[in-house]
Symmetry: C3
């Protein structure tokens, strides 16, 4: 079975460092009960991660201007849908089936089969089919699928307000069907990075940095919104239209992250697994809290005002930072890791603006910068080797920068990726969808009539 997924990195690492992280003790839990617990963990935690799609949708809806809000809603529900279909059609097999170092199997569709079919239909002997530490293979598919969707969600926020819908969705299909699965196979599929001992518990690099790199190449190739950067180096604020929605989105993401990190234990069938998940929950929460408080204090000190959007991004940066190594039994380290992540965002956001990289929601700062930090932190505080962590960050970064740049440039030179200046001025909602997000409120209602 496939229980070594994602865990494998940690297990291999344990061998390297001598840490006695042996397999879970199933002394008193029957094999079939383990199967139910493990499957339940994938399903419960998978639902929480699915919910993060709503979190990204609300965060981005709140942080864009009202004239492009309906478009970002559409992109978010569309990308979640496309990610799920692509991962079913091709992605899962590329990532997890017969991985030979650098890539899995090119084969279509991922359906229940063999023994599990016999189990489902009651034609086999359950006791014989269900071994120790196993789980339903479709529960695993479900859990892995919602992770792919998270990667795509990261990209939509950065590129909001100027990218065309359909080219963006073509990019999403390639990202979730091919690019993400290939690099994912290197670690979680049991490929070369996992063999080196690269450790990324729930995906600071494999999910968040990948989304961040794709957003970065997209932002550079797409260019900034009209008027964002003045000729004299002035950065014009384009404040989000609905901050309570952005706050809601952040809370949703925070909630979903318990599934993201907790479920990545990949098992619930023993006392040790359950206790590890509780440790992961604790660290996840403490790191996020540390990110919020740091971002608040820093913005107060630096800007003399507390910045709500920085506090929200501080929470997310804390969460991304702890994602690579939420399995610390000293929770104070998590507080530090999250606090550093929250602090990094406060500096990264203006830095990107200085570089004229227009990231509408701050996703590059949150997911790429804090993702790198979190992955390094495993080498600094955790059991991982710092050198190996850097290799993983660079290898995955190089692969994603190159492949996504090719896709963006190919799209740009064929169907085009950017709306016209007039359409951008009008807002994507009217130009692409022919509708308004808030037809009765404020500017929208005035310009409409």
């Amino acid at each position: 079975m496939q229980l070594w997924r994602k865990s494998l990195g940690v297990a291999a690492l344990a061998g390297v460092t001598g840490l006695a992280m042996t397999g879970p003790a199933y002394a008193e839990v029957s094999a079939e009960t383990q199967y139910v617990f493990n499957t339940l963990s994938f399903m419960f935690h998978g639902v929480l991660v699915m919910w993060m799609a709503a979190g990204f949708a609300m965060l981005e809806s709140g942080l864009v201007r009202s004239k492009s809000t309906a478009s970002i809603c559409l992109k978010n529900i569309a990308l979640y849908s496309i990610a799920g279909i692509m991962f079913y059609l091709i992605g899962y097999n590329l990532m997890y089936t017969d991985v030979s170092g650098f890539i899995g199997s090119f084969s279509f569709l991922y359906n229940t089969k063999g023994d599990e079919l016999a189990l489902l239909e009651g034609t086999g002997d359950a006791a014989a089919i269900v071994g120790e530490g196993t789980y339903s293979i479709m529960s695993d598919w479900f859990f892995q699928m919602v992770f792919v969707a998270a990667t795509a969600s990261i990209v939509s926020g950065t590129l909001a307000e100027r990218i065309k819908v359909w080219p963006f969705l073509i990019f999403v299909a390639i990202l979730t069907g091919i690019i993400y699965p290939i690099q994912g196979s290197w670690t979680w599929g049991g490929g070369w990075l996992s063999e080196m001992g690269f450790s990324d518990f729930a995906g600071s690099t494999i999910v968040h940095s990948v989304g961040g790199w794709a957003a970065l190449t997209g932002a550079i190739i797409l260019g900034a919104r009209k008027g964002k950067y003045g000729p004299d180096g002035k950065v014009n604020a384009m404040p989000g239209a609905n901050l309570p929605l952005a706050t809601l989105g952040t809370f949703i993401l925070w909630m979903g992250w318990f599934g993201f990190n907790g479920g990545s234990q990949l098992a619930l069938g023993s006392a040790a697994d359950a206790a590890w998940i509780a440790v992961v929950y604790t660290n996840t929460n403490i790191a996020a809290a540390g990110g919020v408080v740091t971002a608040m204090i820093l913005t107060q000190v630096l800007f003399k005002k507390i910045d709500l959007t920085m506090a929200l991004n501080g929470a997310l940066a804390g969460l991304v930072s702890i994602t690579a190594g939420p399995d610390q039994t000293n929770h104070f380290i998590s507080l530090i890791i999250g606090a550093v992540g929250g602090g990094l965002v406060v500096f990264a956001v203006p830095l990107l603006d200085k570089l004229k990289v227009d990231d509408v929601v701050g996703a590059i700062s949150v997911h790429l910068v804090a993702g790198i930090w979190g992955t390094l932190a495993v080498g600094i505080f955790g059991a991982g080797s710092l050198g190996t962590q850097i290799v993983g960050i660079l290898a995955i970064g190089a692969f994603v920068v190159i492949t996504t740049s090719i896709v963006w440039l190919a799209l740009k030179s064929t169907v085009g990726i950017r709306v016209s200046d007039e359409e951008e001025e009008m807002g994507l909602d009217k130009s692409e969808l022919g509708m308004e997000a808030y037809p009765e409120f404020g500017h929208g209602s005035q310009t409409l009539s």
Copy 2:
């Protein structure tokens, strides 16, 4: 015990078709552990279905105009409350207690009793009380109760912006306390339809079409909103005031649907049950994704713009479509079923407008049309008999059309169901509640002062 509920249709069906869907194998899970798993499944999945009440509230809040938004919020929280109380007072017994073919028992209140009371109070011998495949009876009540509420939620959206609050709530009390439970007893209560082999796993017909029929009779008897249909056949768009909320509502419903369909396996106490739920989750997600993509492509092709509200309704139609038979091990069939559902909505919405049936949120297209399609699909792709499926659709449809028409007409001829023209023009929020949903924004703020 009552484990045959909802499952019974499937089990009977298995007998008919020869499919070897035997009972779950509990070889290695002790009876008491099964009890905990089964109860947990009802509770976890029930909470997700409860959450759908919020999904409907947000979807409808987003799709009505701002002058009737507070009213739709009120109706949604009120209907969820009334459904729960009515199902406790009378509905559950009508649906599940001593069902004699066409109806259950007319008896009041549904409390824990007998053996379970002994179990709770520790006065009985747990090992003797807890048999294989059992569960807490109140967990079952909770899970069934949230389904009733979903049925009522469907009606409120269609009739928004013109129906009076109290008559609507009286209708809800009768629908959830009497009409829904009686037709529900025919299949899930073990009545005549289940004996025929009618198969509706989680309620494409029993929940969604019932809500859809009630919405349809209500829409016809209540009439369209003033100005919706011009004298020359022109359909005037009355766009929703807050599309991010509608998007949020759709994501909430999608999330809740894992509970709706997954929990309808009615057990988690064996490896086979857990694996089936994972299959159900997978199909549920893929069908919804198929609905989104189809609706997007069709609106792009037909209208030259992607319609966000159609994409959202496409997701919901995909979900409704798969609800009758989410237990396919070939997930590609789910993609097709969901895609067809999403496509149907794109055609059904303008068709209803042509017929001057004013459905504010598209609920009839989503829940009735896709509900019928999903129920037929079990006969086409699944193990069900198409003839029996049609019998079930027609029987339940006829019963609900007749009974709800009688209730609507009785309310119309006594207390009245429609606000006056002046009140409708002013908006229900001021006329019925004396308040505004968004007192400081846009039109609202201007007309108020």
Copy 3:
């Protein structure tokens, strides 16, 4: 182990009254399976309670005016973060470690240790470490932590639109790190109130009234918003800016309450525990529904209009009311308890206005008034002694009133707690954060440009 927490009151009570609420029967569930179930219950239910932080944020965002909406969002995410950090740094130990009647241990940090560390690292013998009825200690920490955050959330709503951000957050740190844990140790930590038999299942008094008392002392010391109360005794309505968000917040809280009350069973490792949780879910839902319907009917009768915000607060009051004793097997009693709670709010809100206590969201009426009622109801309908319930209410009330008053007054006389009149007029968003929640909508957009 610590399973007696919160349960202890009930267990002691059972001894007093002769009710045969013996310990759960674990006849057929292995000790390790129990451990997994119990831990899972804390994690699942804890996530639901964490989600209540978003519910409070949305409720309050919807009920404040738009010029102070971003501030209330910030306060909510900050208070959740600070509560978590303080409970990790000091609070948990004060509440649960070596409680000697009136207070626990002054010691810093709460990390996994001892046997559990051996279990996690696989260095110990799981079968020897895991005893009957045990659970992961960090899962317990997580569950208790989210409760503290709920207490703080109650305060922010009452004091909105006029309190400075940083002094409020200092108050939150003291409330969640010191005041809440000390009074919590009296009952749930096994201190003097639990020894007396004070019964508060999930915290009508210990969580909700404590938040309510802190809000009350704050509201009195801080004073009302400018213009709220006219010189002639006139109460000026200051309607909330976004009622769909308030509705969403209420639904989130309702959903989260299944975790709040259900998880407070503190175990899921036996059929009896699972059945009790199902009973708790049922009562929780029925009480909330009763609160909604009562508030609706009363506002219709008294004010001739249904008041949406009263209906929402009715739901919350029903939930608070049932929190002290949701373990009734006669669910009709829960309907009554919730209905009375919902009714109390309809009278308490105008009463507080008469007393010129300006509670922006009605939190004092909901959490303090209904919290007292719910705690008394255990003495009236449940197995508790009315006298002891009154002692608990008074003792905790006196302690919180005195300590929070000292903190508020100390803050007032040092850093100050209230923004200037000009800042209040301008709104906290501009004065404290330098931003707007809805920069493009309605009043906001007009005053901005």
